[in-house]
């Protein structure tokens, strides 16, 4: 981006500047004084940070080919040509707890408060394909999300909400086909056709094996279920984002920013390859792939992370997978602020953390955002703390000014350097994973898990030693009274949900249920797309547990490799 002679001049100036500083430091050291407050300066992820960044650090960068204008390849600055000037990012708060009735009330509250999209949190039994009355579900029903057993619950969950208008994101992975089928069937009953539906299913099994833990089936049939959804939606639910390839949980499990980029994109590459291998044309499905990132506290590193990911993905899709449509090359991303950065100590401080993380995500150009509530290190958020979290986004959107121009950090010597640095580290990991045979193999061998765990332990040791300061946790502590007014889910939720399920089963056509489950079983034995069979079963009120048990019997269950 700079004149060669000019760069040489700048390099000379930097060398002078550095030697002056070194001399000053040495002189101070002789007198037993330190000019720097730390031995080492590092990013939130532990990457070395220099005192000074200048044009010399980004001399190789070519604006047209490496950055480009917003909306243009390689989309570093934003996938949208006008950034947030046309439409702000989608403010999408992840919510769901207890029963479908209770969660429906929270969704309506969020819509009234200005949320522009819904995001469903399901309880663990729902996420792992068990009904609420399964013995394994005891104690877990309605706890970390809403309990959905069948189409009947899905109908209640969206009562009074126009599914033709709202865009709904569902955090569901191993049984994503089943919950998507419930949603399609619920919409049909309200007269909304599948073509009208907009939303996202997470549907990302690889990161479940690596970091999140809600897997059911082994990798091969899991990949089949995923590519079946790609194929089915391309024809029937064209506006649906069929997968949200997630770095969020990888980061929460302890990875660095560069590892988050690397492992997420390596997973993305595995899904694209799997879909191509089933005979799908890359441009038929790649435009519906979306991503999900974290936003932690290191403002500039986090913003750079998004920019690096957009560049890698665009080039990967174009060069490696020969995509022709620009849409296939766009890294479209939802972001959630970092749950693991929240502290149980002095929880009000979390509002400030979430504000910084919100800025990071917006400066990074996220397409949609969930902001965490201050009480999430303690329990599920209350309505009041959810409102503050949403207001944080609204203040950044309407008062901070950062959304008025596209990618305001571009050209910063430091931010462009960070972008390059994260990209280089991520590409190195991706090359290594390719050598191993792809992300699915790397996960099965426990490689990705080990890399994440090493980073998590390293981080914790830095906190323990005081090298890394967490305000209120290892510095600036106060005596605090236990927090009050936390949201608590009563155990009766499980009992009531089981009772409701029993009544539903008595009222449905059980012959039809058996017939549809048998048809699904036969289809699972062969190679047909399973999505239509699951949808048929959903329409006659087969439960999630019944559908998943058929698939468990045919596919088996995943047993992870254990390592610490």
């Amino acid at each position: 981006m700079f004149d060669k002679a000019k760069i040489e001049e700048i390099k000379k100036g930097v060398a002078d500047y550095n030697s002056k500083w070194e001399a000053a430091k040495a002189k101070a050291a002789e007198k037993g004084r330190k000019l720097e407050r730390s031995e080492r300066f590092v990013t939130g992820s532990g990457a070395e940070v220099k005192q000074l960044y200048t044009p010399a650090d980004i001399a190789e960068l070519d604006y047209s080919t490496d950055i480009g204008n917003p909306g243009e390849f390689p989309f570093v600055r934003n996938v949208q040509a006008n950034g947030y000037r046309g439409r702000l990012w989608t403010m999408r708060q992840y919510a769901g707890f207890s029963t479908a009735e209770e969660s429906n009330k929270r969704y309506r509250y969020l819509i009234e408060s200005g949320s522009t999209g819904l995001s469903c949190a399901f309880d663990l039994p729902t996420q792992i394909g068990y009904d609420s009355d399964d013995p394994i579900s005891e104690g877990e029903v309605g706890k970390v999300g809403v309990a959905i057993d069948s189409l009947a619950d899905m109908e209640i969950l969206f009562e009074g909400i126009d599914l033709g208008k709202v865009s709904t994101s569902m955090t569901i992975n191993a049984p994503a086909s089943v919950l998507l089928a419930f949603y399609i069937a619920a919409a049909e009953k309200k007269g909304v056709s599948p073509e009208q539906l907009t939303g996202t299913i997470q549907n990302d099994i690889l990161k479940e094996y690596a970091a999140r833990g809600t897997y059911i089936f082994p990798p091969a049939p899991s990949m089949r279920l995923i590519t079946d959804i790609f194929g089915f939606c391309a024809e029937n639910v064209p506006q649906w984002n069929t997968i949200s390839i997630s770095g969020y949980h990888i980061r929460e499990a302890g990875s660095t920013a560069a590892q988050e980029v690397a492992f997420t994109l390596a997973d993305g590459i595995a899904y694209v390859q799997a879909a191509i291998d089933t005979g799908l044309d890359v441009d038929a499905f790649a435009g519906r792939l979306s991503f999900f990132f974290n936003a932690h506290n290191d403002l500039l590193e986090e913003a750079a992370k998004f920019r690096a990911a957009r560049r890698i993905w665009a080039r990967t899709m174009k060069d490696r997978f020969k995509a022709k449509s620009e849409r296939s090359m766009m890294f479209r991303v939802h972001t959630q602020t970092g749950g693991s950065t929240l502290t149980a100590q002095q929880p009000d401080n979390n509002i400030i953390r979430v504000t910084i993380q919100t800025l990071a995500a917006i400066l990074g150009g996220t397409n949609s955002l969930h902001t965490n509530s201050k009480d999430e290190a303690l329990a599920l958020p209350t309505e009041d703390s959810v409102r503050v979290a949403l207001r944080t986004q609204q203040i950044v959107a309407f008062e901070s000014g950062v959304a008025e121009t596209v990618d305001p950090l571009a050209g910063s010597y430091y931010v462009e350097s960070l972008t390059n640095q994260i990209e280089a580290e991520a590409l190195e990991y991706i090359a290594k994973i390719d050598e191993m045979g792809g992300a699915d193999v790397a996960v099965e061998q426990g490689y990705i898990q080990r890399e994440i765990q090493d980073s998590a332990y390293e981080y914790q040791k830095q906190v323990e030693s005081g090298e890394r300061i967490v305000v209120g946790v290892n510095k600036f502590q106060i005596k605090e009274a236990p927090p009050e007014g936390l949201l608590k889910i009563d155990l009766s939720v499980g009992v009531n949900q089981a009772k409701k399920l029993k009544e539903m089963k008595e009222g449905r056509d059980n012959n039809a249920v058996q017939a549809k489950l048998e048809a699904l079983r036969e289809a699972a034995k062969g190679s047909a797309n399973l999505m239509p069979y699951i949808l048929d079963a959903s329409r006659v009120y087969c439960t999630e547990g019944e559908i998943c048990n058929v698939l468990r019997a045919e596919f088996g269950e995943y047993t992870p490799l254990q390592s610490i």
Binding site: L124, E252, A253, L378, A379
Partner: protein, 129 residues
């Protein structure tokens, strides 16, 4: 320590959050303990069996899903029923302050909530052996 203290780090229930459990497991290992990690999704039966078969001195359970009030006491009850009620049982995770007395009454010796230094946990267990 004369003999190495054996500790079972366990994840009861369906919760997939294992960052804390794994970090604590590594810290115990680095502190000289013999550590066995169960992996995710263990039933009370599985944890009890593992604790007895591996002949551990300590059972450390981690839960972030809110199911602690159901699952931790269940493991303790089973350990007692199978004659292994003498093991030190500790817990950790996202556990509200107000739930702790109930867990202690059920036999959880100590509960460590978010932000607890690893040193505190290790020193606590050290003090028991």
């Amino acid at each position: 320590m004369a003999k190495k203290v054996r500790i079972l780090v366990a994840k009861p229930g369906l919760d997939g959050h294992d960052r804390g459990a794994k970090v604590v497991a590594r810290a115990f290992r680095d502190a000289g303990y013999e550590v066995i990690y169960t992996g995710l999704r263990q039933s009370a039966e599985q944890i009890t069996t593992a604790a007895i078969q591996e002949d551990v001195d300590v059972v450390a359970m981690s839960l972030l899903s809110g199911a602690h009030a159901t699952l931790m006491p269940r493991v303790i009850k089973m350990l007692k029923e199978q004659g292994a009620g003498d093991k030190l049982v500790i817990g950790g995770g996202v556990i509200p302050e107000e739930d702790i007395p109930e867990l202690k009454a059920a036999g959880v010796a100590e509960v460590f909530t978010p932000g607890t230094p690893l040193k505190t946990i290790i020193e606590y267990v050290n003090s028991k052996f």
